[in-house]
Structure formats: C-alpha cells, structure tokens
C-alpha cells in the first residue's frame, strides 16, 4: 500500500472480486433461528410444568415426537437434494407444538406418526418452510384425531414426577412403547370432553362438572388435559413474553381469545346449563396454546393487522362453535386449519394503504398547504 494512494480493488484472497451486493449493506441481525428460539423459550415453562405433571411418559412422548419431526425434515431434504435446514429450528418447533397438543401418555407410535405427518404432509410436500398453506402441527393432530380417536382421547389423571403413583423411568418406557394405552394409566375425561359426553346424555353442565372427576378444572393447572392445556397460565405468560419481545403482534391472540370469549359469555349468560363459561373455555383445550403459539404461525396466517383480526376472530369463533355444537369436544385444530385455508383470501382483501394513495389504490388529490403552512 503506497502512502499517498491506494489503488486497485478490494479483492478476496484468491484475487477474485467479491460478488456485488445490492443495498442495503447493513442488517438488523435478526435471523429465523433466533425467532424460533424465542418461541421455544416462551413454551418452556408450560412444557416443564407438563413434564412434571405427567412424568416420564410425557417426556418420552415429547422426545419421540420432536425426534420424528427432525428425522422427517432431514429425510425430505435429502430426498430433494437440499442442504439441511434443521438449524433454523422450525422442524423442532413443529414437533414441540405437536407434542404439546397430544394426550400426555399417548404411545410412541402416535408421536412418531404425527411427526412424520406434520413434516412430510403438512410442510415438505408444499415445498418446505414458508410454503405450506396449513399449520403442520395441526395437520398432524387432526389426522391423528380422525384416524385414532381412542388413542387421541385417553387423558391420564395427573401423576406428578416424584409422587408415589408416578411411574419411574423404566416403567415409563414400557408405557410409551405399548400399544394400546397402558392399563396402569388412570384415564379420565378432560373438561371439554366430559361436559360434551354428559350433555349428550342430558346432564346439565354444572351438574356434570360437579359430579365429574376432581381433576376437571383447576386454576393452578392440576387437571387432565394435553401438555399444552394444563399449564394454561404458564402458556399465557409465554405468550405475553412473545408479545413483549415483538415476535408476535397482539392482533391474532386478542382476536382468537375474543372470538372464543364473546360467544361463550353470551351463551353462558343465556343458558348456563348448556354452555360452559368463558373462563372454562379460555383455560381449556388448546385455547391459549392456540391463540399465542399456533394461530400466530407466520407462514399460515395473514400479515396485515386487519387480516390478522379477521383471521383470529374466525379461529376463536369456529372453536367455540365446534366445542359447543360439533361432534368433537375440542375444535381449535379444526378452526385453525379452516382459517388457514382462508388466509390467501384474507390477504387479498386486507392490504395496507400505500403512502400518497387512497385505500382503493388511486393517487391522493393534492391538498395544498393552508395559510398556517400545515400542522
């Protein structure tokens, strides 16, 4: 380098010019993997609570489901000759969400099959990350629920780790490996399932809950349900963390919860014998998991605030309809898939206003400055 002048090009070691990049020549530093990591962090408290509540079989199922998703992802990418994208964390997250929506003591084959369905059918056949129309975890859950209704509705009564009744690690392997469900498991109904069954027998909901098993509803989460259902308040905390850290916006969760709560409030006020209360709705099933973690999936939800409100409210309302009048006790997964299908339509009609244009796309009329020179 001469002291007076630097000449020549900035070149790489082998003398080749670096490839020219378009602007901007700066980046905010956020990566897809970071986003996924934050979501997993938000899920961790509720998941750990579920692990504690349901013990080793639940941990086994979680590991199998997540493992199946990772394997399926790698398998598909190898088949397509693509480089591995396991590092972005999206397959791991899909497995995680699916595991949270399964009965905690479901046998291993449920998790294995579910993981493969989620990744292969739900995601990779569409072209991989970002291309799928439907939420992969919900595709798998619905496929499992429709195909194996018995295995998918065996809700075990909580047997916390280290409690006397809880199976040890070795026993848990037997429980996880066996099919059908292990006879040791004291199964029970979840709140939504129990009230639906009793209602169909003509028992009013307050009586059904009063006469039902003790673990139907509990603010602290000591109740039957899926991993993601019991720790509802921890799930809410995780969701609020996602909101605070800017990973998700408030529109979808608020609209989902409003979509469930508003009709539930009205229904319960009109006929308490027929309809569950808003609180029971919001803290049961996948309401909070769905509102904060499933419906907010970037790929399968609309982008604009208006679109997100429509989408979220649709999910909430459909969930309430299915729970109240449908054949299945829980409707979140179906509602999410239905609204996923509407996402392209919602996106088409909900667009932001472009600067200098009206909503319909025509240019604004010039508004000359007034005498005060504007605001």
């Amino acid at each position: 380098m001469s002291p007076t002048r630097i000449s020549g090009s900035i070149s790489t070691d082998d003398g080749a010019l670096p490839p020219l990049a378009a602007s901007p020549h700066a980046h905010g530093g956020v990566s897809v993997a970071q986003v996924m990591l934050r979501v997993m962090l938000a899920l961790t408290p509720a998941t750990l609570f579920g692990f504690w509540l349901f013990g080793w079989p639940a941990i086994n199922l979680f590991a199998v489901t997540v493992g199946a998703c990772l394997l399926a992802e790698r398998f598909c990418e190898r088949l397509m000759g693509r480089r591995s994208s396991l590092g972005d964390g999206s397959a791991l997250l899909t497995g995680w969400l699916l595991a949270l929506s399964l009965p905690p003591w479901a046998p291993a084959w449920i998790g294995l099959l579910g993981g493969f369905i989620a990744i292969v059918v739900g995601k990779q056949v569409f072209g991989g990350l970002g291309q799928n129309l439907f939420n992969p975890a919900m595709v798998a859950r619905v496929a499992l629920l429709v195909s194996f209704p018995v295995a998918m509705t065996q809700w075990v009564v909580p047997q916390p780790l280290f409690s006397a009744a809880a199976p040890g690690f070795i026993d848990s392997l037997r429980i996880t490996a066996e099919a059908p469900a292990h006879p040791d498991a004291v199964t029970s109904a979840s709140l939504l399932g129990h009230s639906k069954t009793e209602l169909s027998r003509g028992v009013a909901i307050p009586d059904a809950i009063a006469s039902g098993p003790q673990a139907l509803f509990d603010w602290a989460g000591m109740r039957t349900g899926s991993l993601g259902e019991t720790g509802a308040l921890l799930m809410l905390a995780g969701g609020l963390y996602l909101l605070a850290s800017g990973i998700i916006r408030w529109h979808i969760p608020a609209a989902v919860l409003a979509g469930i709560a508003l009709p539930a409030l009205i229904g319960h006020a009109v006929d308490p014998a027929r309809y569950l209360s808003a609180t029971q709705h919001l803290l049961s099933g996948a309401a909070l998991l769905g509102a904060f973690f499933i419906a907010t999936d970037y790929v399968t939800s609309p982008n604009t605030p208006a679109g997100q409100l429509v989408f979220g409210f649709g999910i909430g309302f459909l969930t309430w309809i299915i729970r109240s009048w449908g054949g299945y006790p829980e409707g979140m997964a179906f509602a999410v898939l239905l609204m996923n299908a509407l996402t392209p339509v919602i996106d088409r009609y909900c667009r932001p206003r472009i600067l200098g244009r009206r909503r319909d796309g025509r240019a604004l009329e010039p508004t000359p400055l007034d005498n005060t020179g504007g605001a």
Partner: protein
Amino acid sequence: MGILDRFLRTARFSGGVHPDDHKRPAADAPLRVMPPPARLYVPLVQHIGSPARAVVAVGDHVRKGQRIGEPQGAVSAAIHAPTSGRVIAIGDIVAPHPSGLPVRGITIESDGRDEWCELEACDDPFALDPAEIGRRVARAGVVGLGGAAFPSAVKLSGGLGARVELLIINASECEPFLSCDDRLMRDRAAEAVDGIAIMLHATGAREARIGIEDNKPEAIAVMRAAVAGHARIRVEVIPTRYPMGSEKHLILVLTGREVPAEGRPSDIGVVVHNVGTAVAVRNAVRFGRPLVSRLVTVNGACVREPGNVEVPIGTLAGEVLAFCGGLRVDHGGPARLLLGGPMTGMQVPTLEVPVIKGTGGILVLDAAEVGEGDGGPCIRCGDCMRACPVGLLPLEIAARVRVGEVDKAAGFGLADCIACGCCAYVCPSRIPLVQYFHHAKGELAARTRGTQRNETIRTLTRAKAERLEREERDKAEALARRAAASLAAAAAAKQSAPVTEKVAEDANEESGVCA
C-alpha cells in the same frame, strides 16, 4: 419539542427502522480539506438528466471553476474544472457505479497552483431577480447534494410550474455512517442559513423549515443560533428514524401532508433542498463559485482516520482513503466498499472511481458492519411489511418477482417503492428484497420502452403508408392536371404560352410539398 408533538410526528409515518447510526466518532472529527490530487477524473454526467457536452479539448489549459462541460437539454447540469491544470484526456473513465462500466469524462492533470478563473460575484443576492438566481445556480452546475443529484436550478426558479409556499431544508441525514451534513452545519451554519435565505428569495416561499434529526444536538444548537435573526427560517427537530430523509416522509413529518403518489412535492406547494445544496447555492450566487468540491464522509471500521473531508470533484476514492490514513487490514479486512450510505448506497468494485457531486460518503465496512449471514426462504413473518415506510407488502411483491410475474408485482405497488432498504434490513431470512425490486422495475421499464418502440414503429409505418398513398394520389392528380393542362394548351395553342407553364409549375410545387 414537547412529548405530545414528538409522538404525533413519529406517528405520522408508519414503518421505518432504527439502525445503529455509526456516525461518531467520524462526525466529531474536525473537517479536513483535501488538496487536489495529481489527476482528476471528472465524469460528464454526475446528475439526473442528460450528460453535459465537453467544451474543452485535449491539451487545453483550464483554471479552477472554468466550465468544461455544457448542459444539454432542460434537465442537465454544467461541469467545471475542479482545479487548474491541463486536459489530458476526454474519454472513458470508470463510472462510480456497481457495474464499473466506463462513462464519458474529462481527465485533468493538476498544475499544482489551484488557480480560480474569473468569478462573477454579487454583493446583494436579494436584489437579484429570482430568475437570475436560478440562472446563476445553473451556471454553477449546482445539483442536489443529498444524493439524488437533481439539477437544483430547475427546482429553484419555478421550473416546476407550481407556486411554492414552503421551502423544506433536508438536514435529517438519516443514513447511518454519514455525517457530512452534520459537519457542514456545525462548521458552516451561517453560510447554510445565508444560502437558505437566498433560496427563500429565489423560490418565493413564505417560510423555510430545516428538518434535523434529534441525534445531532450540536448541529441543532448552532443552526438555531444561526437562524436567530431570520423570522422566516425555522429549525425543526425531528425524531431519528430511517428513512426520515426521504423527501415524501420529511414533508409528511414536517407538514402532516402526503405528497400524492406519482406526484411531486410542488403539487402541494413544497420544495425540498438538501442543506449542503444551500451552501453550494450561496457560493454560486454570492461569489459565482461553481460546485467543484463537496464534503464527503469517509467512514467504516476499515478506515484508519474516519471523518469528513472536503474533496475536489473527480478525486478517486482510493486517494481520498489514502488521505484518511489508508485502510486497516485487521479484524478480517475490508468486506465492502460503498459510495453513499449503507442503506441506499452502492457497492463499487474498485477504488479507482471518482467522487462526483452526489457522493456523500466513501465507506469501507468490515463483515460485522455489513452483517453478512446465511439467508433462507421467506417465512412470511411480515417484518418487511411493518418496516416499509410506504405501506407496501414487500414479501408479496418479492414472491411475484421470484416467479417472474412482474405485472402482478406492479399490482402490489412496486412503482411506489422508494428502495430505502428497510425491508431487507429487517428480513430474518436475509432475502435481497431491494435487488428483487430493482430487477422488476428494470424489467417493467424495459417492457415500457419496448411498447413505446413498437408504438413508434407502428405510428411511423402508418405515416409512411399514408405519405406514400398521398404521393401516389398527388402524382396522379398532377398527371391528370398536366394532361388537362396540355389538352388545354393544345386547345388554346393559339393563345399565350406562359399561362400553361404557370399551371405546370403549380402542379410541381404541390407534389414537391408532399414529397
């Protein structure tokens, strides 16, 4: 500025980003003036519009400030010798552009004396006719120094047709790394305000507002002091947010008015000039001094002595860097050489590109500053949509461009994109969105040109057919007339011959017009 006021202003435009500004310590380093190097490479096009035409020949001796390029057409700018010396070549020089393709320019070998030519000074610019100010600014080759390099005289002297109510001085300098406007205001506030007063006089606007982002407290203080005696000039402190310096956004924040899409600020009675341009206008009008140098921010982790330098136009980037102590090669060495800021500036392949009138910065960034990383597919997170200050859906536009559906991309408002780069800055998948949009805009422009060409060919073909037809008809008519005339001549053979000649001449003349 009160909290409420601040909130209202911030709320006026949605989107935008807050990149690390990296402006200090370069902004705080004292201004340095670089002497002219041995050779200067002066491109004939440094502005928006038609290139200038060289008016000197190889071997000519020129003095500093002497006009060497004549503007051509309505939108063009004159080019002047940045120092005194000899013209040693008129031909191709490397364009300050990513392509590194040649551009026509004049190479001057300095004689080391840096002698000005005779300049036409003016003691009282406010006594001049506004049109005359425009002419003087045009003669000085002043262009917008904010980066777009639009010939300033066109915007100053009512060339836009509409009445100007408000003059906005863009001193927001929202691009990270750049601080030449900040430095200019700190060191030459009085000159800038004098220039703004001259511009007020030239445009006929009632008042001027100087928009400065709140990350430049020193500049705000000195500018406030400098405008103290001017009732019609105000300093407005605006929130720091990129792209605050975008013309339409600055107007929105300062007036609350939106410039209509496809329109110009003058549509709502506003004209926007950069603060550096104000100083150039002052120099042009008061001293007749053409624009032959400018402040350039030399910055980036790879520059040894970052700071702001007054550089003669035509100096090679490598020489400016050498003046700033050269490049550091530690921490991975230079990753990217840029002209302009990191958000909208362009990467150039070599250091042998000249500084031109629109060059606000020479940046040599390392890998960490560029933030290089692996990309991936779009996950539709919508961050680009939230970052877009124009209200576009970059993810949807990019998805269309990706599969070649440029028309559909245009349907999503591609033409309204200002290429600010916010979308790509926030994209977690690091999709080069701006590159997609440039590509699609180019494609659309090429298509429009193609359509225009076809249209022109069709019009010309039709005109030719009509002309041929007309000629045939005229010829036939002329023949018939001639035949009739000769008949008449034969019939009137006994009468005077000159009349017959007159008829024949008329016929010839008629066909001659149509030929």
